[in-house]
């Protein structure tokens, strides 16, 4: 069933809320009253419900089936967490209510901070970053602030990052005023330590390395990398997008990391919600801790307190980088994440990491019969394939991925990381049962065989079992239509 836009269904006088009549008596708007039509149609409540329910049915979701998106970690979203987040004491709490009225909220932030510090082995955490990329910004800002405190901000302007890095890494470094340089990878899919060392120098602010990296591999030389960077006077930013592979098993703090953001929506399963909201608390080493952003929570005389300004941070012996967002961060995600952590416990967090790695290796082991792994050996929590197995079939990575839709699956991550040709990155997560994985592998093996058997047309046509066939993204970008425009009323001129 096709569903029109609300703008095509509703009318300006219809509404789906009942409100008492305004008095109409007072007007203190200074003559700035809205006097033109806004252009917002309303729908009655039943129409609204149906509109959005119908739209929802055009989506794929983790509650429907596997979401094997490498680097994006779509795992089960427990509904307990939704319930907790909606407790009035959390959901209906104002960020500027007096401290005496929000002690439980500050306690929760403090508790979550404790878990994050303990799981990472780091001494401090900045809670306010609103998403992973915001956490990266926070971490790189801390590095910049530390360099400033050392008087080296002017000289240390280069940041190194592997070619395989997430695009946010270079973008963040630039947003902090750094320039970015690639670190080459080695043939095992990891950072080339020797090449890295060559690039180090006293103009290097630091490095940004993802670990486990975006090829789904653990950086074996991680400590040597950290040491080399530290020896050169730089800092080590670790992109924590893949922390879920090692949480409860390995503490990044034991590996020489100076800053790392944690995607609560990946590792700790706050719902992706179709593209957000995320949350990116960032753990900091002793060296960077003093530069943490405001606001943050302290505990004194049996009470939680908020440090809200740079000046207050100074009184608390800090050199805060300032403020990253209006309030205290993504509280709604904090409640969900802590609920998730308490539910798992340290044993469950560890088991989840182990199961995630086990599931990925199982998929790797089963699929390598027909598909081509990008690198030798075991993987961590995601299995990376290249498109060699599609060579001469006429089927490309995108076709293979879109064909998965017709099998009932969301495509894997494709063409990332960039260092692998026609990359296909599969992350099953710990949420999939062996039964689901077997069905999934069977489907992919069958697709691979069909591709090799020459069924290229079917692949090019895919998907056919979806609300839409392939969409013309080029046309969308060439002449962007970003909003609905009312049709010119044809009779208006008459």
């Amino acid at each position: 069933i096709e569903e029109a836009l609300s703008f095509e269904i509703g009318s300006y006088d219809q509404t789906g809320v009942d409100l008492p009549e305004p008095s109409g008596k007072t007007d203190r708007l200074g003559g700035l009253n809205r006097d033109r039509e806004i252009g917002l149609p309303g729908l009655s409540e039943p129409e609204t419900m149906r509109h959005f329910v119908r739209l929802s049915q055009k989506n794929y979701a983790i509650d429907m089936g596997p979401f094997p998106l490498g680097s994006c970690t779509m795992k089960h979203n427990p509904r307990l967490n939704e319930k907790i987040a909606r407790l009035p004491g959390f959901g209906d709490l104002h960020p500027l209510a007096p401290e005496s009225a929000v002690q439980g909220a500050l306690e929760l932030i403090d508790q979550l901070a404790f878990w994050l510090k303990e799981l990472t082995g780091m001494p401090a955490v900045a809670m306010s970053p609103k998403a992973g990329a915001h956490g990266e910004l926070c971490g790189m800002m801390a590095i910049k602030a530390a360099l400033e405190a050392r008087g080296e901000a002017e000289t240390r302007t280069r940041v190194l990052a592997p070619e395989s890095a997430h695009g946010t890494n270079p973008a963040t470094a630039v947003q902090c005023g750094f320039t970015v340089e690639n670190i080459p990878g080695d043939e095992t899919g990891r950072v080339d330590l020797a090449a890295l060392k060559e690039k180090l120098g006293d103009d290097v602010a630091g490095i940004m390395v993802t670990n486990p990296n975006t090829c789904g591999l653990f950086e074996r030389d991680i400590r040597a990398i950290a040491d080399a960077v530290h020896d050169a006077g730089g800092y080590f930013y670790c992109d924590g997008a893949n922390f879920n592979a090692i949480a409860g098993k390995v503490r990044p703090g034991d590996l020489g990391v100076d800053a790392m953001h944690i995607n609560l929506h990946k590792t700790f399963s706050t719902p992706h919600g179709g593209g957000g909201p995320g949350s990116g608390p960032t753990v900091l080493s002793e060296a960077l801790a003093p530069f943490a952003p405001v606001p943050y929570v302290t505990f004194e005389d049996g009470k939680y307190k908020l440090i809200e300004t740079r000046r207050a941070a100074k009184a608390d012996d800090g050199e805060s980088m300032g403020r990253l967002t209006a309030f205290h961060g993504q509280m709604g995600m904090f409640t969900r994440a802590l609920s998730y952590m308490l539910s798992h416990g340290k044993d469950g967090v560890k088991q989840a990491a182990e199961d995630a790695v086990l599931n990925a290796n199982y998929v790797l082991a089963r699929l390598k019969k027909e598909m081509s792994p990008a690198f030798e050996g075991y993987c961590m929590h995601e299995a990376l394939f290249d498109d060699r197995f599609l060579k001469d079939t006429g089927v490309e990575t995108i076709d293979f991925a879109k064909a998965m839709i017709d099998e009932g699956y969301h495509p894997m991550t494709m063409y990332f990381p960039l260092v692998v040709h026609g990359a296909m990155l599969i992350e099953p997560t710990e949420s999939e049962s062996k039964r689901e994985l077997d069905l999934f592998c069977d489907a992919l093996l069958s697709l691979a065989k069909r591709a090799k058997a020459g069924e290229v047309e079917a692949f090019k046509a895919a998907p056919v079992q979806a609300p839409r066939r392939r969409l013309d993204e080029t046309a969308a970008a060439r002449k962007p239509v970003l909003r609905w425009i009312p049709k010119e009323p044809a009779e208006a001129a008459e």
Binding site: L5, G10, T15, G16, V17, S23, G30, I38, G42, F52, L55, S56, K58, N59, A61, D63, I84, L87, F90, G91, D92, H94, A101, G104, A105, Q111, E118, K130, G132, A133, G167, T168, Q175, G177, E219, I246, V250, H272, G274, G276, G322, T325, A326, F327, G329, S343, H344, K346, A352, L358, R366, S431, A461, R469, R470, L471, A476, A477, P480, R483
Partner: protein
Amino acid sequence: MRYLPLNDADRKAMLGVIGAKDIDDLFSDVPADALNAKFDLPDHQGELEVERTLGRMAAKNRAADAGPFFVGCGAYKHHIPATVDHIIQRSEFLTAYTPYQPEIAQGTLQYLFEFQTQVAALTGMEVANASMYDGSTGCGEAALMARRVAKRNKTILSGGLHPHYGAVTRTNLELVGGKVVQAAMDVDASEDLIDQIDDDTACVIVQTPDVFGNVRDLSGIADAAHEKGALLIAVVTEVVSLGALKSPGEMGADIVVGEGQSIGNGLNFGGPYVGLFATRQKYMRQMPGRLCGETVDAEGKRGFVLTLSTREQHIRRDKATSNICTNSGLCTLAFTAHMTLLGEAGLRKLAALNHDAACKTADALGAIDGVKIVNKNYFNEFTLALPKNAEEVVEQLAGEGVLAGVPGGRLWPDSKDAENLIIVAATECVTDADINVFAAKLREVL
């Protein structure tokens, strides 16, 4: 553990298929002494236990609904229809990924398109993006965008801008060596920023209603900015006001950023919220954040996709317009659904009710000896000048069960002038009884 489908038999069988002797075999790249670290954390717990622990924490907080409530300053207590929460809890929305595979994400994409249209209409602008983290980070991004557009270095912040927005924007600008001019605290909207605008000015950032609640006419400053080749960024932290007030677009703004929390989203102690970001068509390609656009599929059917990703970090990497790679998806949905319920008629009525409530509250409080209403014009928020320290008054009233507003000292801790101010918001959720209690208690503590 209830969330983990594998059992030990599965694990053993799978290790066999993999050819690994045990699970740690798969972790052999990890330095041995770092593997299987010990943690000072509890083991897993059942739902009942977790609910008890977190329920106890929640009970230590005072929910907005628990009594007379007048706190605003960038986050507002509004009533959210139950339909909205039902919609955002739909599995297909809640547990969906970013719509990078548009064939199976038309649900998300279509509501983003509707959202963009709503935001453009509300702000009086031509285009809007698919949302920012929140209003304050949107403000920071707008300042960066204005620098890109104007290719200039200076940013002027109004003295009526929410101090947190100012702080975030400063943080963003200083990182890239931007020059920031912060105007003095401007309680009654009497500042004149026009003199500050020069040939190096990228933009002026003005909020309306401002942080003290004053409704501001932006036309003058817009004209002045444009004359000097600078942009005007308008900030709106209470989006409900747009149901009663001229849009910033009508008054000449070039970029409008707003906090959309009031529509569809709970207070949530400050987040997640939903940043609104709209601008003129000509600046479209300089906009940060995600954009959803219309297109057709292979059969010619209308469909929607994320578009103009050539501005974005995952394509452009160090050349991107911003490092942002998330929008506030589900909050956007809440906004869109609530706005669809309201429609033009509902939003206007809601705005009128808010204005009514604020006027009533102001009349009741302004009648108290020694209390002065600072504002001449306001929408649903205004500022009281008290004869004594406002922070203490707010604490005393909180003790009496009244959350009275935000004391000036909280937002301007360094300003003597702010000490006796209290910023009071009143929405459709405020009853006459609430107002009476507030007035009576305030009279008592003064």
